[in-house]
Symmetry: C2
Subunit: 658 residues, 2 copies
């Protein structure tokens, strides 16, 4: 069966480098040889059957210090077979989406034996990444030249090389031409229009395109809130009924937008094919360790770690630690409020310019301490989650996200909750909310995109100067391009970007009835955020590997939870407002009961709405049902065929027996 | 391909009747002939390839008035192929569960070519039902002899016959021997033990076994509540802290039991194979009508009805109608309370024995009116749901269940809510709760099982007397058995049984802190309920067709919703209790705020718990993952094989071109 793979054993005339592998400087020659041989080896021998070339200068000569860089590519045929292996879904000639198989390749849109654009470059890179990561040890007991880097049959070689520091990194190459085109339609002109999500997806993959899609969708979804919020500021509306209306609208609106996002997301990922993509069986994540055992699912040898031990670590160590950190954070907040009070008292006593300056000191100290705590906590969370030893990358990510999310939520909003529900100071709440929202937005954009962009620009200039001062950016040779790209920062995933949006959603929705203008600032921020994030992706970071994904995962849940919490906070705020209290002068009990009743009705309405709005648009549902129906029919036909064959054998045997 | 089905065209020596078909008395001969011919016809001719015999007396002679009854059976081979078509899942020799295919039949446990017990009788009957329902019109434009009964290619013949009243019913036969055995281990001896769920499932199918499983599980789950509830009654505990403890325990307990039920259910249905069973593509339900069109999923001709029209009917007619009925029900309740008050006033004024009697009149009138309203509403709900014209049986059922559920909920609990939260009369609440719970339980058991059982017994005696007075029950010939069974009532599904449990759960949980003894009564009722339901299934009704199912469906959601509502009611009740009010004598506001806080914490805890407890036990998860992994691997192997073949062709062609 495997012999067939040898059929495409011929090098293509044009070797197109797709992925760069950087080994450690002091890697032994023996190891290099073994690795390239394993990557180039045929499938039937357990290799990846890809093409590898060491990086060379244009004149063909190797250069010092770059002997440890290799370029990986593959023949077109190899890539098509790889597309089948990873389960890529493409559009057919009849406009339906189907899983690509090599044998049915001619039914796919735009397929031609010589059309090398059938697979986008990011798809090719994803395939190569998949093949490299699935290059597995056969009977090697260790990596040649490194006796301490143990291997066992079936262990991913690349992952072992990475954990042992022999492989420094492997990353996909940028495509200068494509990137230029993308930059042009994406952000080079300031204009009001939708983002080119399909193009972003082609270049950066589904995960990143989905983030930009969500950012855009979210911005549009906030526009009605912002539009309604403006007159509250302009006319200084303070009427009870207007606030209640605004809050009720916000609360129901947030459920509607989150439900409709699911539909938009399904429509988008259907078009991209990832909605239909079958989840591959997940291998253990690189950091997972344990005694060698038998995986009960695959029946293969791999590290095994007791699930009970993991649970104990989560509930007996991580959970108490997180609680302790939350407590500490609250404690620091209380100290801050005490300091604030002290500074205020001091200022009132003395009224000098020094005392006036002193008023800012607590805030500054608090901001610095929060930032330090955030960073320490992030490290601790990463360490703890690694120590919990999750087998799957997805489970590791979810636990990490949950830890970081809870802490960030508290850090951002605890002081606001304290001001609102302990100090009952609505004016201070509005002030703090505005300050926090605006400063965090400005700082974020600066820290996230503009500052790294400036750094990158300076760095690039230095490199270019060193290499050859006269060349233009577009004229860079492959050699120079790779040398430049390998020094670029690595994009660590969409986590921080989503977190930023999540906290922004919190500022907008949690206290929306106190500060209707928050939505306006959020919209303004998100418009510039789009540009700065685009800049970040195109200019600052290495190109990331494309990651197929069908939805925004755990973030959907996080946003929905936030929208439920915001019902509680908004109802409480309205109940506490002086305007509402003026309506029930005699009986506070009635007021509270009514507020609680309204809160329960709103919550119930939210749940009913979430239940009634279908997660997928009707046409997508029908398309999915048709695919399922077709596969069931195919299965039935196949079964009938098999049964027929076996029946023939039966009767044949029967006749023989007679 | 289809020719193969002719291989098993030989009648087996012993024809075993499995399903009975009863046609209308005046069915034309032409129609009978056509129908039997279509049922017996080979698969390749579009028939069902089953065996049909007219019912005959033992001596072989036909009898008057029974010419319209037919027996359907099938050869063993036909049944095995049918098992593959319906996607039956059976246990393999290596103890894993796999979808049965004829070609892999030898890998299945207990399979032997001559072991006719490999498929249980209820499975055989399910297969025959499936084959009969999937017997479809070819080019007939109408049912022969009935020009008004239109057909179109692909229309299910049996469904058309049913809707036109030509086919009166078709039902599976009881197996006297098996039924006797089942009755013996199930309920003939009074003993404390688990029910024989596996045997029930073998005889009655998964849906009914799952109901009895849930009934048993639910009874056991109520035992802790009942045990804790007893001392409250015995020692007349009225302390605040004890009530709070009891209520908190109940509220969290109800989430735990509902979550653990999912796990138990998954374990059971895995063992039965239904957890793995692929959902078949659902055909339109018999009553569905519309202009002939093309189904967008199958591409076949079938009635099509606009989804928008359906939505309009639901939201513009059904929803207002249901709301109106709910309002009416509330209105009737208010009249009842007024009447009650009048009767009380009258009694206080006069104090005669007549006035004492008059005290009961309002309750009796109310009970009768409620019962009448319930029945009218049930008809109206069924009519409306039919009129909404749902394409799928499942969607029809869900809409019907929702309508009936809401109305029954209000009818049962509105008066209790009124007493609790408007009259604030805890004593009356406890009294009403006890009365309602106990009377409804006694009436239910009587109306549901004992009375029909007595009727049935009398009826059976009459028939037996008419036929031949001397014969014993077990000696009944097939002819007599069928004549007796066809007159038995039809079991209309588990809806009413679940509804009873649902309302019981409401009585137990909604006001648990007021009347802890409710759980005790519920447990006692459920123990006898088990027996009366078993009696009902075995003695009163026709055997129902087995229905594979993987869970209790919409009822899980209904129970979970009830447990959420009970958090709100219990917190409110505790907040209103005089003991709790005594603790906060000065500030009612504080009390309410604390109660609301506790309620929110409890709700949050319930959601977190529901999220944390996995829906499937770990070993079942692993088994499911293994199956998925295996099918992915198989797919991969197949793809590689296909790719190999196409590559060979490629290179072959390539060489030729050269």
């Amino acid at each position: 069966m495997k012999e067939s793979w040898s059929a495409f054993d011929t090098f293509e005339p044009h070797f197109r480098p797709l992925v760069v592998i950087e080994l450690a400087k002091d890697t032994k020659e023996e190891t290099k040889e073994w690795l390239t041989q394993r990557i180039e080896d045929k499938k039937k021998n357990g290799g990846a059957q890809l093409l590898v070339k060491p990086l060379a200068k244009e004149d063909g000569g190797k250069i010092d210090g770059n002997e440890n860089i290799y370029l990986v590519g593959a023949s077109y045929l190899r890539l098509l077979l790889g597309a089948e292996t990873v389960g890529l879904v493409k559009e057919c000639n009849d406009n339906s989406m189907r899983t690509f198989t090599y044998s049915s390749r001619k039914t796919f849109k735009d397929f031609a034996e010589d059309n090398h654009n059938f697979l986008t470059m990011s798809e090719c890179q994803y395939i190569i990444k998949h093949e490299l990561e699935n290059l597995r040890a056969k009977d090697e007991k260790m990596i040649p030249g490194y006796p301490q880097a143990k291997l066992y049959p079936g262990k991913s070689i690349v992952r072992r090389l990475l954990t042992n520091g022999i492989l420094i990194q492997f990353f996909p190459l940028h495509d200068k031409e494509e990137l230029k085109k993308l930059r042009h339609i994406w952000y080079s002109r300031v204009k009001i229009s939708f983002q080119p999500l399909d193009e972003i997806r082609c270049y950066f993959g589904e995960t990143i395109a989905l983030y930009f899609g969500f950012l855009e969708y979210f911005t549009f979804a906030l526009v009605p809130m912002a539009l309604i919020g403006i007159p509250y500021y302009v006319f200084a509306w303070e009427d009870y009924d207007k606030y209640v209306m605004f809050a009720s609208f916000n609360l129901l609106w947030s459920t509607v937008i989150l439900e409709i996002w699911k539909r938009c997301c399904a429509r988008m990922t259907y078009r991209w094919g990832t909605l239909l993509m079958k989840r591959q069986f997940e291998e253990p994540r690189p950091g997972f360790h344990g005694a060698l055992g038998i995986n009960p699912v695959t029946g293969k040898e791999e590290p095994v770690y007791s699930s009970i031990k993991k649970q104990l670590r989560i509930y007996l160590v991580s959970l108490p630690f997180v609680c302790l950190c939350l407590y500490l954070s609250l404690y620091v907040m209380m100290i801050y409020f005490d300091m604030e009070q002290l500074a205020l008292d001091y200022h009132e006593e003395n009224e000098t310019s020094f005392s006036n300056l002193m008023l800012f000191v607590p805030s500054i100290i608090y901001a610095v301490v929060i930032e330090i705590m955030n960073r320490i906590y992030r490290y601790a969370a990463e360490f703890l989650t690694s120590w919990e030893n999750h087998r799957l990358e997805s489970s590791h990510q979810n636990h990490l996200i949950l830890k970081v999310l809870v802490f960030n939520f508290l850090n951002c909003f605890a002081s606001l909750f304290y001001i609102a529900f302990v100090l009952f100071d609505m004016k201070l709440l509005r002030q703090s909310l505005a300050t926090l929202l605006i400063t965090s937005q400005i700082l974020n954009q600066f820290a996230e995109a503009l500052f790294p962009y400036w750094l990158q620009k300076r760095h690039n200039k230095k490199i270019k100067k060193r290499m050859c001062a006269s060349k233009m950016d577009s004229d860079l040779s492959l050699f120079e391009q790779i040398n430049m790209e390998k020094e670029m920062g690595t994009y660590l995933g969409t986590f921080d970007d989503y977190l930023e949006l999540f906290l922004q959603f919190g500022y907008v929705s949690l206290f929306s009835c106190v500060y209707p203008l928050a939505a306006v600032f959020a919209v303004l921020n998100n418009i510039t955020e789009t540009y700065s994030d685009a800049l970040k992706m195109c200019k600052i970071f290495k190109r990331p590997f494309s990651e197929p994904t069908a939805n925004i995962g755990v973030w959907q849940l996080a946003f929905e939870t936030m929208s439920v919490i915001s019902v509680v906070t908004n109802c409480a705020l309205i109940g506490m407002s002086s305007q509402v209290n003026a309506i029930f002068p005699e009986s506070k009990t009635d007021l509270i009961l009514i507020v609680v009743l309204v809160e329960h009705i709103l919550l119930a309405m939210k749940f009913v709405m979430a239940f009634l709005i279908p997660d997928k648009p009707r046409d997508i549902q029908i398309k999915l049902a048709r695919l399922e129906f077709e596969s069931l029919e195919a299965l039935k036909r196949q079964q009938i065929k098999l049964a027929a064959e076996s029946l023939k054998d039966e009767t044949h045997e029967g006749k023989k027996r007679i």
